[in-house]
Amino acid sequence: MAEILVKNGYVIDPANGIDGDVADVAIRDDRIVESVSSGAKVIDARGKVVMPGALDVHAHVAGPKVNVGRLFRPEDKLFKSPEARPNYRVEMGFSIPSVFKTGYDYARMGYAFVLEAAMPPIHSPHVHEEIHDTPIIDEGALPVFGNNWFVMEYLKNKEIENSAAYVAWLIRATKGFGIKVVNPGGTEAWGWGLNCLKLDDPVPYFDITPAEIITGLMETNEYLGLPHSMHIHQNSLGEPGNYEVTLDSLKLARGVKPRNSFGRTQVMHSTHLQFHSYGGDSWANFESKAKEVMDYVNKQKNITIDLGCVTLDETTTMTADGPFEHHLNALNHLKWANTDVELETAAGVVPYVYDKDIKVCGIQWAIGLELGLLAKDPTRTFITTDHPNAGPFTRYPRVIKWLMSQKAREATLGTFKHRDKVIDATNLHGIDRELTLYEIAQMTRAGPAKALGLSGMYGSLGPGMDANVAVFDLDYRKMPDDPEQIERAFQRALWFVKSGEIVVKDGEITSHGNKRTVWVNPKVKENAQVARDIHEKFAKDYTVNLDNYPVRDYLAPNPLVIDVDVEA
């Protein structure tokens, strides 16, 4: 029986309404408890900030497209890889780090759970192999459904029950976590050289619209009562003027009620909203519509969002939005990789340099931060960089710095070549809000835990919770004048206890931890038609045999399975 007492820190735990109280956090084995014996190992957190382990709702950290990025960008490792050290596995890369560096870097920042944001179902074994090789952090993965042939056929006929039976089967088969939707209809349309940039653009052959796919998958999600809601990367990503399509998609959640036993209250998670809050009709008059979008999000309680902040780095974009990557490659002329994934999805990868001296990049940077600063409810607004699309996840501390300090924002703005033009095209310069540590904890702990339906395990320091506790070098009563200290503190936790084990001390990895794969097991009653459809399509259209398709148990050797009993 291992006991740890994190003593006398300033505890910030929004799930329990605690904001900076000096208190102790007691840990026995892998759980937080009321108290421990006098023999417990003591971590002295006096004068430091203590938070629950953080959760990342959206990052591309494992799977075939991440690996394509690693393979076709050897230059991402050049001069950016730390030298090998004893007791560490090899850390390599910057925007597409090796699996070991991914686990270490998240742990150094005090992250306990990360959701891989787009798993191509047929490649789920690869995703799970990488997840298994990523140390310390717990991970889940969202299979993509927005361009899936089965789903489009069922939803076209409004067969929610069949759609649900299929989705449940696929989530089980892939050991997935929930329903991801990427450019609904558009990725499939690209097989015909087309795209769906508006919600009523029909998908060729399937004759269904993005609006019908979104609505249908929201209903499917609530029919199943999954822990997480439908998680959507909307149509028309990255296009000037796309905020109207964004608002139209968000409006589809109106009147849809959450139905689940996990405490989740949203029915739509709209991801990397920065890429979807653009005004203007060309790159010349490109501008922020963050205010218009957030005005709607603030009113609509059944929507959660994450930011997708641009961090002004050289990075690697990767998405199941195949047509977008093609479009991006035509803009920057760098490398482009692309694949079509059978009946399921597609993906593309293109390197991208967000240059602070390019006006559009500066505006994108401002939009991401505006979304966070204009949010009225931080428990529905989560910090992400859509890793690695808008920047690597290792920049979260920098994003936190910008959100917490107007001085830091102005300093960055001051380095832009087109500062005044960026100011004219955005709202950021006029926003003096500085988020508090409590609000940051809402955005990275309590909020995402609730939205993922994981608030019974993560994101809080209440007794019975998983023992994930981070200690940061910040004085709650006397926050530093120099915003760089905020970034440094969140980059390297003084201590991080993950599932009851000390994995980080003074920003250095001390243990490879007890990594778990979190997956959802929705149990629905037998559906003969869907079973027959699956057999038929595998016989006729897939390149693999149905028996070879599901993820074997050995690929997720430390599972944390969430059973969902679906009432008929």
Binding site: P74, D76, L334
Partner: protein
């Protein structure tokens, strides 16, 4: 100027990665300190002093420092790595990455160099009296930002992949070259004074190539537009003028498309 002389005393068992043999690393140090500079033999950290006798003294700044490596460096990589000023002279051969990521100063190798000489170079001069292997003045593997400035002159021949993704600067090969010259280049000048096997200028966007011998196999993406007479590396020659690569995108300037130029000695 002050000269530091390194005399090889031991042949490395594995290749020695001597990223510290630069005027930048030597400037202002005593011979003992220089002998204590770190290098790698395989993955093992070693000291320069284990492989070289160090004599003489460097200047206060890199610009005032000349390094003479008085012997063979066939098993030494990264000579002049990232150097900004001063000079490095090698009385013998050198292995890979001579002058890699170099920003300024001069390197003179009196023997041959292996591959990746002048990789991603930004400025300065490299002179090789012998021949060069592959990836001369090319970009790092995967990178689209190749050689940006400076001059490389190879008195002998060169292998394949010369000036890949080149953006600026000049490469002169005084004898023959094999395949892949200025692939993906968007600037810079490559002069091959001998013959080239082929694949010259594939996917080239901008920049100039001069071939004063012949090209055995021309790429189909280049189109002959006329003949010109030009001075190339000190001699006047009559040249066939080709533009290309017509299969690649090309930027516009004043409404006109800019192509890469390939000049081949007229028959």
């Amino acid at each position: 100027m002050a000269t530091v002389t390194l005399t090889p005393t031991k042949t490395p068992g594995l290749y020695l990665e001597a990223t510290t043999i630069t005027p930048d690393a030597f400037a202002g140090k005593t011979p003992a300190q220089i002998a204590g500079l770190e290098a790698r033999e395989g993955k093992v950290p070693v000291k320069l002093g284990e492989f070289f006798r160090v004599e003489g003294a460097p200047g206060k700044t890199p610009a005032e420092t000349d390094i003479l490596v008085d012997g063979d460096c066939t098993r030494v990589k990264y000579l002049g790595y990232k150097m900004t000023a001063g000079s490095v002279t090698v009385n013998g051969n050198a292995d890979m990455y001579v002058g890699g990521w170099m920003k300024g100063g001069r390197i003179h190798v009196k023997g041959n160099v292996h591959s990746f000489c002048g990789i991603a170079m930004e400025g300065g001069e490299i002179l090789v009296d012998g021949k060069a292997e592959n990836y001369l003045g090319s970009a790092y593997r995967g990178d689209w930002r190749g050689m940006r400035g400076g001059t490389i002159r190879i008195r002998g021949s060169a292998g394949n992949d010369i000036g890949t993704f080149m953006l600026g600067g000049t490469i002169v090969v005084e004898k023959d070259a094999f395949i892949h010259v200025s692939t993906h280049a968007e600037g810079g000048t490559v002069i091959i004074k001998g013959n080239v096997e082929g694949r010259v200028g594939g996917q080239m966007v901008k920049g100039d190539i001069y071939v004063l011998g012949s090209i055995a196999y021309m790429l189909p993406g280049f189109q002959k537009i006329g003949q010109v007479e030009k001075e190339v590396d000190g001699a006047r020659v009559k040249l066939d003028h080709y533009i290309g690569d017509l299969g690649e995108r090309h930027p516009k300037s004043k409404g006109k498309e800019i192509y890469a130029n390939l000049f081949v000695r007229a028959a």
